[in-house]
Each structure stands twice: as structure tokens, then as C-alpha cells.
Symmetry: D2
Subunit: 481 residues, 4 copies
């Protein structure tokens, strides 16, 4: 189940207000955001009378493979969600957007991020008589909202958001409105666009591009944007000390063609490569290559700054089907080769700079550098366009536990030795912060520094979860293949 | 979607305590109860650590087609549910058993029946901050239970059941116990059996037979039976004025090989035929035939009492696949023929008594009697082993609205004329009550008499539901064929 | 895989000429013939330009579940096929009708029956340069037809049929005609009907009934009926010594509502019961019961002749899904109970006559009589409405090998003892022949007598097949559940 | 159905001799060759006793998604095939490898290429009594082989191959041997590798890399390689005037990490870019970009030679699911955007050289250059690393008819104007031939020049096919989504 790299992208969200093709646009938007979550996908639409929902395990283009089905998601409003989840909770019950009835009517919600106090909130809510049918944070938010004594949705939402802590970018659908929210720290990206009177929200601007909507602006940290017949209105949550946007979105998560946190990812990622080249040049190297596709731009930046030729030496096979979810032993032995092959002629006899965006466990990279050497490279110099990842993330990035993070217990020389490369350099924290755009907003760098912008209590509070009986929703789909 | 007869069987439930094959036994039990609901099925098991759930649309033997999957439903306890539902709510979201976490732990519930005050309870609960993710009555019960201030499950259950009105037979699964409940009126059947230390509950005893469990007794009306490590304990809800078991279970619902309400269905159904023959003989008739398979026993009873030969003149095709769910027009024209064919040699030139169990809309029966006549019957005399159905049921039988019940607006002569038969007789209410077993419990005959044992407020209170936005959970399965 | 009874029905065929709904009518006809083969089904249609084919594993109503798909089978002509097959060759490659191109154009063929010289013909054809892509007899027929030097299809067909020996009822589709054939011995039934200018062929008349076509007549043994724009024309193959229709079609195969070999099955089957009652009365018995549904009519005949009450004591569960194809051990232990349950009240304390149509292995019947006794029957007297089956069939009935036929190595008393019943009587051969209709055609009774109407060489010629490398077409469908 | 580019890759083949994991290795090999055919895939294995076959529509990793299923393809030998086909013949019936029985035993065959005289051969074979169940060329080869009077397989194969004309790379499986063949012109690539006593054949060497086999050599044009217990033996077909390898394999078909025709594709493709830069420099341009991924290497070569920065300005979405097979109109409007997005920051205000490998219809490229301009590029200069495609291919590349080839009826200036770019240059034929490796073998350049190495008669002989009735094998799979 684990991806070789150990990185798991966590959720993409999309919303459309006022389009005759709301569900189809949402489908297109989710398709553009496929890289943010491949396990399940869902759309909820509204025609003012009813909410229509469909969600299932699988890729966007498979779950909604039949365009006739999209027509059944009626109405001029829709929201959608792509989700990545850990093994245990891979189930239809946890698919988003969630749709509920409550005293204020019907409502659907899609969430990107991770709450850090959902365990204690859940416990409080259960004590007050709430029932939970999923393990999703989103259900906590919905319960809080429904229990608010406020009479209007914005008031209810303020009540609910006032109690939750952590990372959340939300899109909410009611019968006749769309609401978009970013948490006060602004961990996750969320932007707004428009097209001929239609208003669109998306985790990344690449989704706006696909539906040919124009990027207007980011939703601000702590902002609640309401779009209804009355137009677009903005509300604000109480500000926090500092806005701390997830710097890993620039390093790895977001697509290079997206604009997030006000800047093109591509541009920033190239700067990462350039600063890395300044900090850690590689005298005597012949060529610079990237680990495709996430490191392409940083590698190009490195090559340009270093004055070295950029070469294509690793070919990635993009036809990754379902087999590799439950590989046999024979296949497992081939797992890196299934994804990557070397281009023999390019590597033979060369001293090679390999640029990768980050190292999590290091196991895949170890195999990959071995492949490169096997293809004839005389020297392999690894340059990483981010600092060593030493701490887990509690804000939506599915890093493994500290123990599995190779840099949490090995210093740079030990990692180099483990990977079997001739030299290894990471980008410095300072270099990283020099490369990303500077504005009124700051960044969360907790995975490198351990400085968490929000206090993390629950992770240590084992008592909170240890008596919980888990409901394991079994999907028999995998057995079907 | 509509079945030709207009009758839709409503749900079967099953539970197992203390068997190494709990899920497999539940699978077998649900298979035996397949006639009580063919739209979806589900099982929840417990191994004391976790609850394991799988539910999907389809027949029991298809949803759980792979025995390996049953192994994943771990543990010594399990409950299961077969469900029939109306079109709108055919969705995975509404499949049962529902499983939740609440302050008391994890719990799953399967429900057969229909509450008559769920609308107002739902409204109250929403006002108090509850959220609803399905349209099932069961969710109302779970909310009430979770909101109880009692510290023990039986107390919580008493609180919840004290507020609901209507028909309910329930099986509940916790980490380490099974609870079975029948409502104080005893509308729906529920019996208990055992096998080598394993305790089993089932809607009908035919499910006990299949797993080779011995029938012990019915769960009493108003009884709560708890089975745990501490043994079997019994609790009782406050009694109501009269126990009113659904008499239609004897007439049509239950399988003839089941024992319900303390008596074999076959035996009662045969008496219905005999009393019908006494009340409405058919002098001059040559043969008696049944509409297979639900009327076989009553027809046999009629024939024996009337001293006429019982003949097999209608052959039923049991291979009814998914096509007929969305038939094309060509197929629709053949709909009765797809199910039934006549045996030419038996009918030609004969004066025939046709015994059927009941008439709902009459449209199928009209086509069927036309087929019989077309096959050469000289006379067709229709004898119905129940009184005219004139009123809707609010306790779990999915009759159509009064308007569609042919007997609600036509007298017997008009129905006869509509059906195009030579004579038509129904069983009288008195005859019906003479045929069913007499004991300390009475029967609900509301569909014939309009005397509802529980006051029906909500059906008339349109305001209750008219502002509700429905969440339409779309399944794209049907499109797959 | 093995059905409890050990009997496997072998193929049903259907054809339509000149209907705007040819594919839909074929679908309906195949549905009516579902009992003759449940493993795979297929339809080929023609619009005069192209042939359109779809075939797959599964029930008719599942393979053609979507009526929109039937529309893709264009044209006014169609033929169809239901197939039962043994385990090894369950594959899409072997589905019928087969469709080919040859020098005469395009042609599709559906076959019910079994050739006894296909092995040697296949060998000859391979020697002459033919290639085989399936193990079906039908491919042999197509090769012979294509290799004929005759210039017209009837001539080619005569050439091919002149070389094959055994049982075959065929329907053939060309661009613009339908051809129906019965072998000279007339082993398998095939009848012709019409409806408003549409001509229809079917294995049994129940399929004509479903599409509301009128039965015209049986296709004669040795007759080739051609239906085209030029009308209906008849050709005849050289006659054989005697017509030997499969008597087992009357005993078990055909539906009771069908007319085959010129007579209603129901009528004949009832006579079987009556003659059985004359030959083997059961003095002192209380009731007569049948093993539903195949023995219902014979049991009724027995009861009427014997003057005993006919009772319904076994209830059959018709919801048999895919699980039972690969049952787990727990389920296997329940296999007879899954299909049948006893009606307690009817059997208790009674001396029971059980009428069944035949005994193959006897293993299921042994369990069933044990169930009956377990339900309280004081005595169990078994009456079989056919003689002991002692010999394998080579003409289309999938009996097991002699070794597995219980009557091939046990006399009646030994079978009685094996089954654990109080008495056992079979119908005599003479009684059997007395019950079936007498006409110009005779019957094959080889499974009782060992008198094969066609010499069987290949079964003993092991050399013929022992060097064959089998091509195992694997279906991964079963793994999908 | 049409890919935006109008190019359709035609088939990949793979074979393994003597491996305990023959089917799994074949699976891996086919996965590496997925780019050569995405419509269907199949594997046939042999354990010396039987042949085991499974083939279905879909990607390799989906059809063989369950590793348990691969175990069912028993034996130490296996061959496999990926296939691309045109709409009409997308069916399970046409999946490869085909497996047959003939007088020499059982045999399976997988074919990459296209015969130019299959129509007339088919006609001859039909006249001689052959039947055809598919429209595949492979069936023609099998018939010819089976009809040979030679007693050994190599003799039979020589007979068959002596009659066929056109492009074919074949792998053949018998009970105990693997045979690999390349046609005398050597149109399609086929190479041989080994690994610990296992012999492997593959269309491209990237498949050897994935299974960690060592590349040994190409199968020669006109060579028949037989691998059996007796070792590897080589036979040769009569030579033709000139070896004419498909030059388009270098330009577009093959993966850059493959070695074909004795050379790395990457290396050759880079030379294409360099020669193009020499022939058609772009003074004043700011950057060079590629149309990913097929043009990456050529663009890099161009940039290096031209001394211009290579930039990543188009991002390709690799999650292309099944929806886009039957897109709705709304989606169709977005079709290029679904695949490609522009990186805003890179293009704005720049004069851009776009390198693409070839132009077929030009419709996709027109939209793509419009996107680039829309993203702010000041000038768009298109450089194509191959000459104008003016003629159809009859040797395995699925170009459309001449009418649809934009360069067949427009000169370069007209194409430039149609595409709306500022300048357009193609590589010259001379430049192309300068870039590809020179050896004893030549190249087929017919799509550019119209000089067909084999005479094409059938394409003009309409009489050959016009009376053919096509058998349309319908798959209902697409309807399932």
C-alpha cells in the first residue's frame, strides 16, 4: 500500500457556483487535482431542491467514467473531493464530500487538511450524545456546526471553526450557496477563480486552468468566502499570531503549473534548485538529472545555475495499474524498476548530479541510485532541494512516524552512506526560505525543524484513543481483481 | 422498479452469538431470509476488539459471493440485515446494519419495521444538534440511544425505545453482546434458537433451520433479550394495550416453512384456504390452481376442503435477473409472461378456481387471469385467501397509497369486473381471524379495516417533511449493466 | 461445481426471422430456456450487412442486463444459445453461437446436443490443415461445412451433416436467412412457431409462449428448415432406421409447460406418476410429496391415482447466487439445506411417499430423505418416476461416469439401503414407455438399458485424445467476487 | 476514440523461455511495453502439458491485477501481447496471443505488424475451406502454417512466412519451445536477452531492463530464432533486396530508454533535435520547450545545439482514465487541456521554440500552440523533429488516411498558417537519415516519401473486401461505467 517514496498526497477540493455544467466542471477540476489523492473521489451537487451525491473508491476518471452519470448530479452548484487515506480507513464510508441533514437544512462538506484536536472534540461530542459513523475529521466539524445555537450558517460555522485546531481548507455546499474557508494559519492552499459569472474554488490553480476559469485570488488565511445569489461576501475568523503556509506544497505537493500562496510553483521550485546549486555546487560533475516528474524543475534550476547540462536519464512508466497495490513477491522485487528505467547511453561513464525534492524513508532513492550506478554512472552526487525531514507532520501530510524518517536518526553522512552515493547535500532551511516568495504570510517548516505552529497534544495522549473500538468498513473491491 | 404485484417485502434480520463461524452463519441465515429483502444486504461482526462491516446492494449470495471475504468479518458475534427499499433511497448509504461509535463504545443495529413518529423525532433531534446522514429510521434510534443520560446500554435502549412508536424488530451488536428486541405491539416476528452453545436470532425460523439451530421460542412483544458472557437475560418494555402482530406475515410475507408467532405458516395458510372454501365454495368447478409459490398452500387447503383436484397450471420462471429492473418497452409488455407460463393441457376446457393470497393493485392478476383464459379455461373463479386490502400499512409493509389499492375505491363486483373473471370472493375478516392461531396475542388487521393500533399523525402532517432537502445518494451500479 | 443432483441440463437454442425486435425476442426466448443452460449465453443478429455478436458467462438476464445493449444487436434476424458446460471448458472462447467468415460469407451456429464422432472428425480435419480455437463440437460442424465443395449452403450443410453422428439440434444464421435442423434420430427437441409474419424456432415451446408466438409444429427428425425472403422451405436428411427421441426430456429436462415431441410435458409427466402409482402403490401411506419443482407433476399424478393427499412439505429457496459455486467448507456442509427446507407441521408423524423424477448419484437424495425423517416423518417411501439410470449418455445429457451412477453398481435393495428409506420403487421401462406419447417416433432409453441408437466408438478409443494438448482458457471472473 | 494526436501505437510482444516465473516475467515485460498498445493484453503459458491463456480488454496492470491469477498461467514458457486496435474490432475475440490446436499440436502466436496481402490470402484460404473467427492477420498466418504439408514446425513456418508480405515481428509458443521471428524487411524491432539461463524476447529492450535480463542482440531481419531444450538455434528466411526498418520507431514509437535496431532511442532522438537545430535555427528565441513526453529528448538536443535554455512549460496529466473514451461534449471541448497545462511564469513574454516529434492531423497541436500563446508567449516557433507525414503506413503504424494527414494536402506555409504559429520548420529527409544510426540495415521512410518497400495492392483493390460481411463482436464493457 505504501508508495515507494513514503509520501502520500492528502486531498484536493473543488467547488462551482452557478454553472449549468456544475458537476462536469467539478469532475474536470478533480481530475486536474488527481495528484492530491487517488484513493477515492466524490461529488455533491445541488439544484436548490435536493442534494445529489456520488462517491466511490478509485480515480476520478474511473468513478465518473460514464458522462451520463454526471448528468444525474443535477444542479448549478457542486463541490468535489479527492482523497488519500491510510489503509485502515479505505472505505466508502469515509469518502467525501460528506452530506448531511441538520436543523439548518442539507449541507455537504469537503475537507483538505488535518485537525490536531479532533480526538478530544470527538470525545466531548460523544459525551454530549453525538454518534459517529466515520473516522473523518469532517464529521467532527459537521457535528460542531449542527450543535451551534446560532441561527445562521455563518454563525454556526464560526462556532464550529472556533473550536477546531489544525489545518483545514474547506468547501461547503448548501442548497443555494457555496462557502470556502481556509484556516487562520493558512496551512493548505485554496484559490478562487471565475468564468462568465461562474465562481470556482480549487486547491490549486491548475484546476482553474482546466475549466478555463480565470484565477482571481487566493482565499486568505482565516477567510470565509460565501457565494450565493447575493454575490460574493467575505467573513474573517479571528487572526492567529502567524500565518504558516505548508512549505512542502512548494517543494513537492502542488503541481508545477499551479499558482499557490500567490506564486507559481514552477518558479519557486526552480529557485530551490538554483539556491541549492549555490549552496552545494558539484565541481567536476558532467550532467544534472532529475527524478521525474516532481524534481524536474528544481533539477533544471540547478543545472542552469551550475552551468551543467540538464539531461533526461530516468524514464518513468506512467501506466501504474491496480496490480501494484497487492504485488506478489516477484513483482515487489522489481518495484522501483516498474516505475523508473535508466537511459543507458546518457549515464555511462558520467559523473552525475541527481536532484530529488526530498528524502522520506530513503528506501526508494537507495534503489534508484543503485540503478543509476548500474547503468554506468562513474559518480553519483545527490542534491536534495529541501532540508532533511526529521519530524512528523500533523497538518495533512502523511509522513511516516519519526522512526521511519531516515533523517530523524541519521546525520547527513550516515544518510549518504546508507544511500551509497558519492556525496549528498540538502538545501539549508535558510536557503529554502530564501527561495520561497516573501509576503505578509509565513511558512510552516515543522517537518524540518520540529517547530509546530499549533500545539500538538493528542499525538502523545495515548489514553484518548486506546479504548476506542474501531469500525472496520471492509471493501471487497480489491478482491475483485 | 415496481414489482408486478405491488407488494414489497420489508427486511429480514439475523444475529449470532458465540460461534467461530459467526459471519458465515449470518450469511446463511440472511440467505434463508432473502425473500424479505433483495435490494441490499450487510453483515457486521465483532471480535471484541473491532467491529467489521460489509454491506452492499445486491442479493446475499452475490454480495458475499467469495467465501474468503466472509473470513474478513472476524469474530464470534455477528448481525445481518436484508433490505427492501423504495427507489429514491436505494443507496449504499442506507444499507444496514448501521455501525457507529458513541460514548458507550461501538455498536451496530439492524432494524425490521417502520416507525410512525420518526419524522417528528428527527426534527427534535436536529433541533438539538444531531446530524443525519441517511433517511433510515435506524439512525433515529441510534441518536436517541446516544443521547440518553443512562450509563448502561439497557438503560440507554429503554430511553430510546420509550420515545419511538411503530413497528420494530431489532438486533444490536456490541463488542461483546447481542441484543434482540421486539416492539411492544409485536408487529414483526423475531425468534430465538440455539446450537451447541451458540445463540441465534432470526426474523423467521426457516433461517434457524438452515444453520441447523433449534427453535427455542419467539422473542416476546416488548421483550429485550441480551446475550453476553453472562448468559441470556430478559428485560421488558412497558406493555401496551394489545399485542397486534402483523397478520399479513401469515397471509403472504413469511416463508411457509417458517414458524412465526408460535405457529407454522404453512399450517395457518392451509387453514386460510379451507375457511375460504367453506365461505366461498365454487360449485361446478373442475380444478383448483394456485398462483405459485405464495398461494400454493392456501390453494391446496381450498382444494382439499372443496373436494376438487389441485392442479399445477402455472409455471413460474425463477431466473429473474437484473434486466427486469430497467426493462425496455418490449420487455415490459411481456412482464407477466416472464414470470408465469400456463400449462396448456391442464386448463383447456376447464372451469378453474384460481386461489391467490391477496390483491394489491390487481394489474398483475388481471394479466394472469387473462393468460389463464387464453390457455383455454372455460371459466375463471378467483378466490382470495385474505380480505380486500383497503388501507395503507405504516408498520413495515410497503403497500402503495390508497389510491393505488384497487379495493380502496372499487367494491368486490367492480374488482371482479376489472379483473375480468367469472366470480371473485375474498376471505372475510372473521374467516381470517378464525384461521390464524389464537393465543394471548392479537393481530393487526389495519390494511383491511383501517384500525391502526398506533395513532398515525405524521402521514397527514405534510408540514413535517415538505421543507426537507433530500440527499439523493446516487448509485451508478445499475448503469454498469 | 457439481449440482447436488448430478444432473446438468445441456443447452437451449432459439432463433427469430423477420422481427424488428429480433434480439429482444431472442433474449426473451433464451430467458424462457434458462433451465437448459446457466453457464453462458449468447446472441448473434444480422441486419443483412453485418453480423452482431455478444456472448458471455452468466445468466441470460445478467449478460443482457441492459436493454440498451440489446439494441446494438441490430437487425431482423437473430439466433441465441444457452450453454451448460463442464468445468474445464468454462470459458468465453467456448460460448455460442459461434460466428465465422468462410467462402460462403458470414454465418453463426448454435448447437444443442453432442456428437459421438467429433474426435475422429477433428483429427481428420487437423490432418487436412484445419485449426481449432475451441473444444466445441460446433467448430467441427463449421469446418466440415466450409470444406464442402458444394456451392450452396444447403449442399454444404448436407455434406457436413452427412459426416457427423450423434445428437444435434441446430439453428444457423446467415446474413439473410435462418436454418433449423434436427438430427435424423431426433434426439433433442426443436419446434417452430410464428407471430405476425415472424418465424421463431425454440428448443421448447415455453419459449414461444413467452414471446407470444403460436406453436406450429416440431421440426422433424432429419429435417432442415430454411426461412428466408423466399419463405419457409423444407429439406430432409437421409432417414435412419429409427427415430429415438430422448425420453429424459419428458422425465426431467424440459419445462412442464412446454410441448415437446408433439405432447405437453406436464401431461406426460403426470402419466408417469399415475403409472408409477399403479406399478408401485404404497398402502398405509398418509401423504404424497414431491421434490420441487421437477417432480411436482409426477407426484400429483401419483397422489391422484393412489387416492392419497398431495402435500407441500419441501420448500425450495430459489435465490441461488454465485457463492455456491465456490462454497467454503462451512457452506458445503449445508448444501442441501440451502436449497430445501422441510415444513415441520406437514411431516411430523406421517408415513410419507416421496416422488422424485430420477436418481443419479443419490447423494443429494440421501440428505434430503434424512431431512424429511429429521422433520418427523414416521416412514419414508421413495417412488421414482423413471427406471434406474445405469449407463452414461453420449447424446447431450451430462450424466457422470457409470462409476458414479448409483444404480450402475447397486441393485434396488442396495440403493434403498444406501438412501436409508423404508421402501424404494422405480418405474419400469415398460411403464415408462406406456406413459409417453406413442407416435411414428420412438425413444432413446439408453441411460436405462445401455442400448445406444448410434454406435459409440470414441469413448473407448483413448488413443484419440491422449496426445492432445489442451488449451485452457482461463476466466478470472470468479476471482472477482 | 481517436487520440488527440492521431497516432496509435501498434502492439508490443514479449516471450520467456525457461523461467519458474514465466507468466509473471511476461506480465512485467508487457507492462514495460504498455505504450505500444493499451486496448487489450494477453498471456499464454505452457507447462509442457497444456497451454494456459488469459486475455482481456484493458491495461496490463488491470487485466492481470491479481497476482494470484498469474499463478494460474502455469509453466516455464510464456508469450504475451499488448494490442492497439481500431474501433470496429475492439473485442475479446481479437485479443492476442491466439492459441489453437492443429495437427502439429497446440500453438500460440503473438504478432506485431501488419500484412499487406492478408486480404487475398484470406480469400484463398476461405476458398480452400478455411473458416475465420477474427479479423486479425495472425489468424491468416496460423491457417497457412496448419495447411503446410511439412512435418516439422520450422518447415511449416517457412511455408507460411513464404506466402505473407508486410511487417511482422512474431513470438510463437509451443508446448516446449519459443520461436521468435522478424520479417525479412525488419520493419518492427525485436530483441533477445537472457538472465540466468532464461531466454527473453521483447519488442523493445526497456522490457528486458524491467525483468533484469541482459540485452544480447536484435533478432535479425528475416531470422527465425528457436529456443528449446536443445538450446538456441537460428534459421533464416530468403533475404529481400533491402532491410527497411521503420524509422518512426526512432522518431516517436519506442521508449527513449529502449535500444532498438542496435541503438539507444534516446541518443538518436537527441541527434534529431540537434540536426533540426542546425537545419532550422531560431534566432531571437528565448527558450526551447517540448511537448511532453515524446519530444523531450529531441527538444533537449535542439536546445543544446541552439544554445538556448531548455524549459519545462507544459505539464502533462498522466491520470487519463476511461471517461475520456466516451467523453461528453463538455469534456470534449477541454480535451487538450485535460492532457496538458501551461506553466504561466515560464511562457509570459517569451519567444518560444516548441519542439514536437511529428504532425499527423495537426488538430491537437493547433490547440496546444493556442494554449501556449494564451499563456503569454510573445512568439511561437514550431520545430518538428521529422519530415512532413504525407502518406499512409501499411506496416503497422495506424496513421489516418491521406485525406486526414494535414501535410498531404497543405504545404509547409499552409500548415503554419493552419496552426497559427509564427514559424514552422520540419526536419528534412536528409537530416533525418543523418541522425539515425547507419549500419548494414536501411530504413523505411514511406510515410514521408511514399516509397513503399513492398508493393501495396490490396489497399486499392476495393473488390477484395466490399462483399465481406463483418462479424461485429460487441463488448458491453464500456457500458458498465
Amino acid at each position: 500500500m505504501s508508495q515507494p517514496s513514503g509520501k502520500k498526497e492528502f486531498c484536493g477540493i473543488f467547488a462551482v457556483f452557478n454553472s449549468p455544467n456544475a458537476a462536469e466542471m467539478t469532475f474536470m477540476g478533480l481530475h486536474a487535482l488527481q495528484h492530491r489523492g487517488q484513493e477515492s473521489t466524490g461529488i455533491v451537487s445541488s439544484d436548490g431542491e435536493n442534494l445529489y451525491r456520488h462517491a466511490d473508491l478509485g480515480l476520478v476518471a474511473d468513478v465518473f467514467a460514464n458522462p451520463h452519470n454526471l448528468k444525474k448530479l443535477k444542479g448549478h452548484l457542486a463541490i468535489g473531493h479527492n482523497r488519500y487515506s491510510t489503509t485502515g480507513s479505505t472505505s466508502v464510508a469515509n469518502t467525501q464530500p460528506m452530506a448531511i441533514n441538520y436543523h439548518g437544512g442539507a449541507l455537504a462538506l469537503a475537507h483538505n487538511g488535518n485537525l490536531v484536536n479532533s480526538g478530544s472534540l470527538r470525545q466531548q461530542l460523544e459525551r454530549a450524545g453525538s454518534i459517529f459513523s466515520s473516522s473523518a475529521d469532517s464529521e467532527v466539524i459537521l457535528h460542531l456546526l449542527a450543535r451551534s445555537r446560532k441561527s445562521d450558517l455563518i454563525g454556526q460555522l464560526r462556532d464550529a471553526l472556533g473550536q477546531i485546531e489544525g489545518a483545514y481548507a474547506l468547501v461547503i455546499l448548501t442548497e443555494d450557496s457555496i462557502i470556502a474557508v481556509r484556516d487562520p494559519h493558512g496551512f493548505r492552499p485554496l484559490c478562487m477563480g471565475s468564468k462568465d459569472g461562474t465562481v470556482v474554488f480549487a486547491s490549486e490553480s491548475c484546476a482553474l486552468d482546466l475549466v478555463e476559469a480565470t484565477y482571481i485570488r487566493d482565499v486568505d488565511a482565516g477567510e470565509i468566502v460565501v457565494v450565493s445569489e447575493d454575490g460574493v461576501k467575505s467573513h474573517h475568523l479571528p487572526p492567529v499570531d502567524s500565518v504558516t503556509q505548508c512549505i512542502f506544497e512548494f517543494i513537492y505537493f502542488s503541481r508545477p503549473d499551479s499558482r499557490i500562496f500567490g506564486e507559481y510553483v514552477d518558479k519557486t521550485r526552480r529557485k530551490l534548485g538554483k539556491v541549492l546549486a549555490e549552496e552545494s555546487p558539484t565541481p567536476g560533475a558532467d550532467i544534472v538529472i532529475s527524478v521525474p516528474d516532481s524534481s524536474n524543475t528544481a533539477a533544471l534550476g540547478y543545472a542552469q545555475k551550475a552551468g551543467l547540462p540538464y539531461e533526461l536519464a530516468l524514464i518513468r512508466n506512467h501506466y501504474i495499474g491496480r496490480t501494484f497495490i497487492h504485488p506478489s513477491q516477484v513483482m515487489r522485487d522489481y518495484n522501483v524498476r516498474v516505475k523508473f528505467n535508466t537511459v543507458g547511453g546518457v549515464l555511462r561513464g558520467r559523473s552525475v548530479v541527481v536532484v530529488d525534492d526530498s528524502i522520506v524513508r530513503g528506501t526508494t532513492l537507495k534503489k534508484l541510485t543503485s540503478l543509476i550506478r548500474h547503468a554506468g554512472a562513474s559518480e553519483v552526487h545527490l542534491r536534495i532541494s529541501s532540508p532533511p525531514i526529521r519530524y512528523p507532520c500533523f497538518f495533512g501530510m502523511d509522513f511516516p512516524t519519526s522512526k521511519e524518517l531516515v533523517a530523524s536518526h541519521k546525520d547527513v553522512e550516515e544518510v549518504r552512506s546508507f544511500l551509497g552515493v558519492d556525496s549528498l547535500n540538502y538545501l539549508s532551511i535558510e536557503g529554502l526560505l530564501r527561495a520561497v516568495p516573501v509576503g505578509r504570510c509565513g511558512y510552516c517548516t515543522c517537518c524540518f525543524t520540529g517547530d509546530y505552529p499549533v500545539e500538538i497534544k493528542e499525538a502523545c495522549d495515548k489514553h484518548l484513543l486506546e479504548h476506542t473500538t474501531h469500525i472496520m468498513e471492509l471493501e471487497f473491491k480489491d478482491d475483485k481483481e
